[in-house]
Structure formats: structure tokens, C-alpha cells
Assembly symmetry: D3
Homo-oligomer: 239 residues x 6
Amino acid sequence: MTGTFFQPVSGFDLPRFAGVPTFMRLPHVPPGHARFDDVQIGLIGVPWDSGTTNRPGPRHGPRQLRDASTMMRAQHAVSGMRPFEAARCADLGDVGPNPADIEDSMARITSLYIQVGDAGSVPLTAGGDHLSSLPVLRAAAKSGPVGMIHFDSHTDLFHSYFGGMMYTHGTPFRRAVEEGLLDPKRVVQIGIRGTMYDTEDRDFAAAEGIRLILIEEFFARGVEDVMAEARETAGIGPT
Amino acid sequence: MTGTFFQPVSGFDLPRFAGVPTFMRLPHVPPGHARFDDVQIGLIGVPWDSGTTNRPGPRHGPRQLRDASTMMRAQHAVSGMRPFEAARCADLGDVGPNPADIEDSMARITSLYIQVGDAGSVPLTAGGDHLSSLPVLRAAAKSGPVGMIHFDSHTDLFHSYFGGMMYTHGTPFRRAVEEGLLDPKRVVQIGIRGTMYDTEDRDFAAAEGIRLILIEEFFARGVEDVMAEARETAGIGPT
Amino acid sequence: MTGTFFQPVSGFDLPRFAGVPTFMRLPHVPPGHARFDDVQIGLIGVPWDSGTTNRPGPRHGPRQLRDASTMMRAQHAVSGMRPFEAARCADLGDVGPNPADIEDSMARITSLYIQVGDAGSVPLTAGGDHLSSLPVLRAAAKSGPVGMIHFDSHTDLFHSYFGGMMYTHGTPFRRAVEEGLLDPKRVVQIGIRGTMYDTEDRDFAAAEGIRLILIEEFFARGVEDVMAEARETAGIGPT
Amino acid sequence: MTGTFFQPVSGFDLPRFAGVPTFMRLPHVPPGHARFDDVQIGLIGVPWDSGTTNRPGPRHGPRQLRDASTMMRAQHAVSGMRPFEAARCADLGDVGPNPADIEDSMARITSLYIQVGDAGSVPLTAGGDHLSSLPVLRAAAKSGPVGMIHFDSHTDLFHSYFGGMMYTHGTPFRRAVEEGLLDPKRVVQIGIRGTMYDTEDRDFAAAEGIRLILIEEFFARGVEDVMAEARETAGIGPT
Amino acid sequence: MTGTFFQPVSGFDLPRFAGVPTFMRLPHVPPGHARFDDVQIGLIGVPWDSGTTNRPGPRHGPRQLRDASTMMRAQHAVSGMRPFEAARCADLGDVGPNPADIEDSMARITSLYIQVGDAGSVPLTAGGDHLSSLPVLRAAAKSGPVGMIHFDSHTDLFHSYFGGMMYTHGTPFRRAVEEGLLDPKRVVQIGIRGTMYDTEDRDFAAAEGIRLILIEEFFARGVEDVMAEARETAGIGPT
Amino acid sequence: MTGTFFQPVSGFDLPRFAGVPTFMRLPHVPPGHARFDDVQIGLIGVPWDSGTTNRPGPRHGPRQLRDASTMMRAQHAVSGMRPFEAARCADLGDVGPNPADIEDSMARITSLYIQVGDAGSVPLTAGGDHLSSLPVLRAAAKSGPVGMIHFDSHTDLFHSYFGGMMYTHGTPFRRAVEEGLLDPKRVVQIGIRGTMYDTEDRDFAAAEGIRLILIEEFFARGVEDVMAEARETAGIGPT
């Protein structure tokens, strides 16, 4: 039982276009709120895109996702699961990034995720560009390296851009392996595709033992088979 | 033979962007027109969205569909069928709804469809939100309950919204069963999917004998098999 | 002094694209909140457009205005006024309308505005279509007819649409005069312009003593002169 | 008296988004229609942009203008004029252009305008790019050169483009003077502005006696003064 | 070896949004450039849409494709091929069309393609509407008819539009066969689908021996099988 | 005389939508080009927005401005000036910024502007966000502080954002004064308006002797009078 406080507002009661928009119409429970420690799954916005090397804009992602997520309903059509009754979920608000300072922003993100973890919540992130993963992993790996099941078209395992820039949206998992946040033997990257700069990222993956599953292999083997391997590789450890 | 009056204007003769746009570039034959009684299939616009509980806009649908339908050509690529030679088709114009009064609008819609039916035409509707189906069914079921093969992601079988509102885009087929317009034993709903409020609509379907075919079942069985069942269920009676 | 609780979040502290968006980044203080009775100016969303006779969409207005209003800063450039220090302002949330029932929606709106007035707050409304003004006036005129200074291109003084529909976005002030909510002698409508159906609305204004100032007169006389007359006409009484 | 046949559909009777869209919601009276000879002002679409040397798209103009013109009402706000009672107006439909052949399209346009003129109607054109003016002038000047009051930012008096192309959106009035359709002494071009290729067009205007009024002169002298000169220059003769 | 001159600018060195955009960030080597004769594959823009019978706009295609193509990277993900090392590629610029004269534009296009062919380059075209193919084929077939593997939903084999217009986006391959540019026995058209005017184009294909593969056949047989047939049909001869 | 090399491509010769787009259709003369030292006015793109604290996107500005500037013609309508004959103008290309590193990007920008200045060219910049001005001023003030006439709605004189971030789009001229790049006594800022955070920037301007002209003063005095003062204040020294 979760009580009514953590239930999303139903579209039967309030039209979806009405109300201050929170993630999935859940209560807004930022750090400091009386119910903060009761949250089991905390949705967090990371409105930050300073690591992008091409088109910016993901900084506006969390607000747009809050708006779009007012379309959610309470029950899954096939499984019948009612997730908001299974766990106390809430919108924990956004990290306040510093759009002009990458290091400062990463410190702010890591700090919030440690606070959320200490309160016993599992965080779910709405980004933000892919570099967001690095400060989140720094919090997640506080007690040791973690595994990862990663769905993407790119590996994000490059060394650097523009003559030495280490922190970009194409480098977070390289940094995470180097910093000992990820255990490469327990990392699976699924769906890799698209044109390539060169093989630098794949060479690194091969050397470290990261398992890449190209989209062609994924389509050939099917969801069931690939996910069984992914679960086995990740073993006992979080994403 | 249909004569040239009921032939759509060809893109070989008049560019598609030219001319006052009617449905499929067919002649505009509103009630009162000299050829009204000769129409075999009448296309009708229902520019009405007062039943929507979320995003409005379908009231602009018929005008946009008229514009888009100027892309139609005369012959189907695979079957070779030439529908405009098989039946006399025309654009009968729009129902004039009352956007601020649901009851009045439904009465106007039902009234036009009865007039069209009395003239011997089969109507094809361009909506409009899903509540449009209710006044159309009221006309269609003038002489008794009808069957229905319905393709949608939602059942539209809910009881009410916002504390008792009976006429919305989520409730038309519940009303249609209650009013005796639909024979639930001869109703098939195909493609049901998406997140759910709760099981209220499915419970109603089960109790009344309405057959729901979820999208998962549809993909598993294929078009041929599902449509064979649908035709058998609907039996002898219209959609 | 207003304390820090009622201060908007500054763009110096949190980027404008971050955070759950409230009106002008003010605190969200819905009815029932501990600080509700301390609010002096309450911003209220009325996400409702059921009275529109043409293009719908204003129901999405309050959410878009919340997003856009995150651009506000604390001080006026010329007068140097700092409004958020002059009064305790807050976002009171939205009225929950019933998009498919005009009477029910108006009752809900009037009810919230009476509650806000009873708490001692001055409400500021973000609509919604123009019919929203009628239920707001019903609350405002609880103790007797009020005056009004109205800036618009239309008078919204028509009798009815579509053969008798009394509640639309073109009729609210006609209803307000008939219901005794507005004192027509203390009503000024400024900026009236555009093509006209006929003179029915202007005839009504003339008969009741409502003062219309066409946009041509406004440009000829200037802001100062017109506003002096408007203030004198409205006398002592609210808009 | 014009009778009800030529009255536009009112927004009080049918919502503006409903109905097959004609210019200003007037009746559709194409050549061959029983009432064609009764039309006093005929609105004609020329969906044609083959003369444009840069961005195409005006071919879609008439359809978009029909849609937008459903916003028109019956009476002018200041003058009180009711134009649809002063003259029998109708939508005569579109010229069917040949988008891939300039000469053929011009012949089609001129032919329709002669037919309309012979029926006693005054045509109003919704284009279309500026080259449309040339075939229209060919019809208008059937009995001798005409005057013109032209509002535009460009003179459209150039000789040719792309090494000799005589028929483009920048050359129609040069051709019209050369063909004896325009009497240059009775032509006024008002509002000329923007960057220039060179002075070729202005030299031509000066040599032929065409009066150019730059936007700077227009703002300095005001509407009344400029229009008085324009009327005097054009004298007795049509635009 | 191609040297660095013909290498595209890497996104590791210069962000994709920076720099004057050329096709795939290749060097701009127009006719007359010192390296023009060294180009092995030349990308050419044909910003021309005068043959379109419906929506214009493809004239803006080459510029938009240059912008979009800055996303290209150096290596194919599955095959590992690095095309820019396999051949010297360059952006040869655009043909300067005459948007108001179809014959003149076709002459300009053919002339450039002959010049490119004489320099030993293989041209790749970014259109432009489908009529662009005709002047390109006139250059390609300088020494005799060629074969063609064509992927499209339409055959573009019609005779004419609008009462005799021979050069439109629906007629280029009819003209190409008539002019002896295409050897119909070595032409395959793959993916044909959509509604049809009539069977005129298919009758012509059948009479000439052109092989049409409808999209239904394509899906039923699969890529491998269809392409094997296409290669066999085209035999030894270019597209 | 400037010769034909530095003349923009005319819209009479090549349609505006054709060709690789450079600023104003001028030749592309990047550093290293044989004619680089002959350029008198060099247009430079700074595709960089890392200093923005709200909406990103100006990084795409130079490419969009190149596209839009293909609309330019050769002569000014009123003055008759032909700027491209008065000076040899060229597109020098873009600075290659490092979107993830502010310091590195500023060093790259300053370096290019020093190179351009050393070659004797006057640079014209297409940004980019307002922080771009700081590295440009660092190059411009190589030999001593400069004056500035600045048209903007904001002063960009703030100290810092987000708890100490010194380099943002709101702080460049504060830094420029502190670094001795601007002589505050010779700086005029014209058009200041909009809501304010507080008076920190205006207090700084007053203390340093920077002249602010609010938009209200600008409208009251007129262009002539304000510009006379601005020229007198800036005295002999560049913007």
C-alpha cells in the first residue's frame, strides 16, 4: 500500500492539460520536503547539455518530458501491472546545473544523487545529454564499480574531442571505466549502429572486455535471446 | 456507369493545388442539390470535437482532409479497382455543429445522417472526435441495433469522466450499447493497446459479450485470420 | 516585507529552463496549502476553451504561460518597482474544468474564485477563452455589480450564437450585464476594432450606457487621455 | 438588393471551421454556373508561381487564402459599410494553370479574365506570384492601355533574368509597358524599398514617366497626400 | 591513397554546425578549380523543380542536403568501408538552373554533366525534382543507351500532363526511352506503389520490356533476391 | 576598383537558392587562401553559444545567416551606395570553437581576430551569443582600450551567475572593462529595456562612467540626436 499521496492525478478527475506539470502527474517532493524520505522511486530532471558537440537543446528536455508525461495512465495494458501501487513514486525536481561550467555542474549532479541514494530512493533520470551519465555513475559507484546495460546507437567510449576535451557527450563511459565506476566485464551495449569516425571506441571496448551488440545482431537474434545474455553479463549489479 | 458528373477532377487536367477543395476532388452535392438523390456514397465532414477530454483540434479535421485528399488518384495499384466508376460518390458537405452545446450538435448530426440514409446513400464520415460516432449510430440504428468492426487503440467504453459527464470521446460505445444502438454480441474491437486507467471498460466489454482483440493478438495471428473472425462475429449487419 | 517564501526563483540562481514551471517561478500554493491565507495576489490558471466558436486551444494557455513566465525578472526597468516585494504573490494552480460541460465548468470556476476572495487574495487569471470572464465576474460581483476596464478588439456583447447558444466567447459581458454582475455605466471597452457581424453588440452597449473606445479614437487621443477617462468612468470599483 | 444567394455564410450560423471553404464564404459560381452573369465582383484564384526566381509556394496561395478568408465578417468597423450588400460577390474558382509552361499558363489566365469581363464582372485576384499581373493586364487592356496604382516594395520593371528570360516575377510591368497594356504616364508605384540590384528598373521608370514613390517619401507625406497624388496621376482609368 | 585534400572535415576537429557547408564536408571543387580533374566522384546539386506538377520546393534540396550531410562520418559501421579513402570525392557545386525556362535549364544541366564526365568523374546528383534525371541521362547516354536500376514509388513513364506538356516530373523516363537514352530491356523499376491515374505508364513499360517490381513483390521476395535479378537485368551498363 | 573576384554572385545570374552559401554570396577566403591579405572587410562566423544561461542555439546562427544573406543585393535603395564596390569583402569562414570549453574557445576566437587584424582586414562578426564579444575585444584592444557603441536591450554588465561563473552572455562587458579592453568613458549602450534582476549592472555603469540610453530616451529624442551624442562620446576609436 502506498496511500493516496503518491498516486498520480487521474485524467478522469483532472483534464491532462490542467495543473502544474510534474513527471507523470506525481507529487513534487524536492529535497527538504516532509515526505522526501518516503520516496521509493524518485524522478529527477537533469536539464543540462553542456557536453554536446553538435545540436544543443536537451537542457529543455525535462520540462518537455514533464508536459508529455501527463499522458501516462495507471495500468499496463498487457501485464496488468499498476506501477504506482507497487512503489511510492515522486517528482524530486531538477538538478540546478551551471550551463557555463561542466565541472561545477557534474559536482552538483553527483551531490544530489548521493543525497537521493542516502534517503533510500532509486533515481530515474530525465536528461540532458549523455554526459549526464558520468556524474550519475559517480554517485551510483560510491561503494564500488557497477555493471551497465546500455541501449544506444553509439558507444560513447571515445577518448576526447577538439584536441583534448575529455568531457563531452561522446566520452562519458570511457571516463567511467577509467575512473573505476563501471566494471567493463559487466557492461553490455545494445543497438550500436550508424556511421563511425574510426574504430577507436570499439578497440577500447575490445581491450576492456565490454560487450557490444550491434543492431544487426540484435535484429537477427531477437529481444528474448539478447536480453538473456545481457542479464547474464551484467550479473548481480545495477544499471 | 456513373457518368462524368461524379468523377473526381484528375491531376492530369487540373494541378492538385488548384480549385476549391472537396473530398477527393468530387463534386459538392449538399442536401438540396439537384443530384443529391443520385449519390451512392456520400462523404460527410463532422467538424466537431466537443467530446474530447484532452487536446482539441479535430474540428479542423474535415477541412484538412479535404485538402489532403486532393492527392487521391483513380485506381488502386494492386487490385486495379476504380472505385469512382463502381459507385457515384460525392462530397455532401459538413454538418454544422454547435461547438458549445453537445446535445444540440448530436441532434444535428443524427438528423443529417437520417436524411442521407433516406436518400439511399451510404455515408462516409470525416471527423471529428470519437464522440461523433454516437449520433451517427443513432441514425444508423433507426431500425434496430447494428454490429460494428472497430479499429482503435482504445475501447471508448468508459462510463463517464470528471464526476459524471456521460458524453465524451471515451464513452460513445458504452452509450451506444446502453441505448440499444449496438448489438454487443456483434461488436469486435481490434487493435486495443496503450496504458489503461483501470479495467472498467474491459469489464463492461466482458459482461456484454463484446470481443476485444488486443494489438498483441492481432500481430500474432495476422490480418487474414483476425478479419475472418471479425466478419464472422459481425455477421450480417453494418459497421 | 514579504519574506523569502514568496520570492520568485532568480535566473541568477537557477537557469530559467530548470525546475517545475509555476507562474513567474513563484511558489505553488494551492487551496489547502499552509500558506494559502497569506497570499495577497494569487495567479490562477483557467485551462478552458469550451466557449470558443472557432479555433480551440486556449485550454493549453495556462501551461504555456507558466513556461513563458519563467523569463520574468524582479524589477521594472523604468519605474524601478519590485512587485514581488510589494505583495506576497503565488501560483494557486488551475481550476479543474469539465471540458465537455459549460455549466459545470462555470460553477467550478466561480467556486474557486469565491474561496480565493474569502481568503483575502486578489486573483489574476491566465485563460482560457473569453467566456472565462463570466464565472469570474460571478464571484467578483458577489456583493454587488462591479465596473470594468476592458482591453480587447471585440465587445463580447453579443446575444447568442448558432440559434440560441447563450454561453460562448462572444457573449460573456452581455450575460454579465443581464445578470447584474457589471454596472454598465462603469464599463469602458478600449481598442474595439476589426470587421463586424452587424451592430447588435454596439446597439446593446449604447442602450446600456457602456462606453466603447474604438482603436482609432485610442490612437488619436493617446494613452494618457484615454486612461484618464477610463479611470473616471470606472470610478471606485474593480475590473 | 443582392438577395440571399450572394451573401456570405455568417459565423453566427455556421462555425468558421465548417464547410467547404470558398473566398469569404461566398457562393462558388464558376463559369457555366446559372448565376455566373449576375456576379458583379468575382474573386478568382491564380494558383501559379512559375515566374518566381527564388522561393516557390504562391501556387498554394489561393487555397490558403480561401481558408483564412472564412474569418471575414459582414461590416466594416469604422465606415459601417456592408460590402456584400453593395455588390453581388462570388468565388469564381481558380484558373487551371500549367505549372510547367509559362506561355500556356498566361494564355489560360488571359482567357478566363476576358470571359469574366465579358460577363460584366469586376475581377479580384488572389495569386500567385507577380508575373500573374501580366496576363491579367492583357485582358484588362483589351480596349486600350490602362493606368495602375501599385503597392509593392519592388518595381517589377526589370528587363530579364538568367541571361534573357523575359517572363519572371521581376519583369511583368516592363513587359506590360512594352506591350502597350499600361500607360506609363498614368502609373504610380508606391512603397518601393529594399536593396537593389542596380538602377536599371528606375532608369526605365524615369524614361517612361512612371511615378515611383519610395517608402521614405510615403512616410514623410502621409497616406492622404500620397493617395491624392496617386488618384490624380491615374486619372480616369482602372488598376 | 587520396591525400588529405579530399578528406572530409572530421567532427572531432570542427563541430558539425561550424564552417561553410559543402556536401559531406568535402572540399568545394567547382569547374575551373585546380584539382577539378583529380576528382573521382563528384557531388553535384541540381536546385531545380520546374517539372513538378504539384508541390514545389525541391529547388531548395541541395542546400538542405549540404547542411544535413555534415552529420556524415568516415566509416561504415558493418562493412568497415571508408569510402573517402577509396576514392577522391568533392563537392562540385550546383548547376545554375533557369527556374523559369525548362529547356534552358535542361541544356545547362546536360552541359555540366558532360564536362564532369569528360574530366573522368562519376557524378552523384542531389536534386531537384525527378525531371532532373532527363538532362542527366542525356549526358550519361552520350555514347549510347544505358541501363537503369530505379527505386521509386512511381514509374515516371507517363506521356504528358495538362493537355500536352511533355517535360514534367512524371514523364522523364518516357522521354528517355523515346530519345534512345535508356535501353528499356535493361531497366528495372523497384518499389512501385500508390494509387494510380490509370494504366498508361504500365502499358508503356510492358510494351517496351521495362521490368516493374511492385512493392508487394519486393517485400515478398526480399532484398537479396530482387537485387540479384536487378543486377542481371541491368547487365553491364550504368545507372 | 575591387575587381570581379570580390563581387557577390548576382541573383540575376544564379538563383538565390543555388550555390554553396557564403555570407552575402561573397567569395570564401579562409586564412591561407591566396587572396586573404587583399580582403578589406572580412565576415567571420562565430558558431558558439556556451555562454548562454538560458536558450541555446546561436551556435547555428552563422550557417543560418549565410543562407539568409543570399537575399542581399548590390545597392542601397536610398543612399545609392554600392558597398561591395567600395571595399573588397569576403567570407573568411568560421572560428572553430570548442563547445565544451569556454576558455579554449575564447583563445581560438582571439587568435583568429588577431590574425585578421594583422592582415589589415576589418572583421564583421556573425555570432554566436553575447559572450563572443569578449574574445573579439581582446583582439581589438591589443594596442590599448577601445570605445564602443552598443545596441542592445541588456547591458551585459553583470558580475557573475550561478554562484561565481564569470564568463556568460550577461557578463562580457563587465569583464572587458575589468581587463582594460574597453574605455568606459567612451562606451555608449543604446536601447536598454526589459525587466531587471536588480540594479547591479546599472550601478556598475554609473560608477565607471558608461553612458546608458534607455529605449524610452531613445524614442523621445530620435535617431539623429542620440547618434550625435553617441559619436561624440565614442570619439576617435572603434566599436
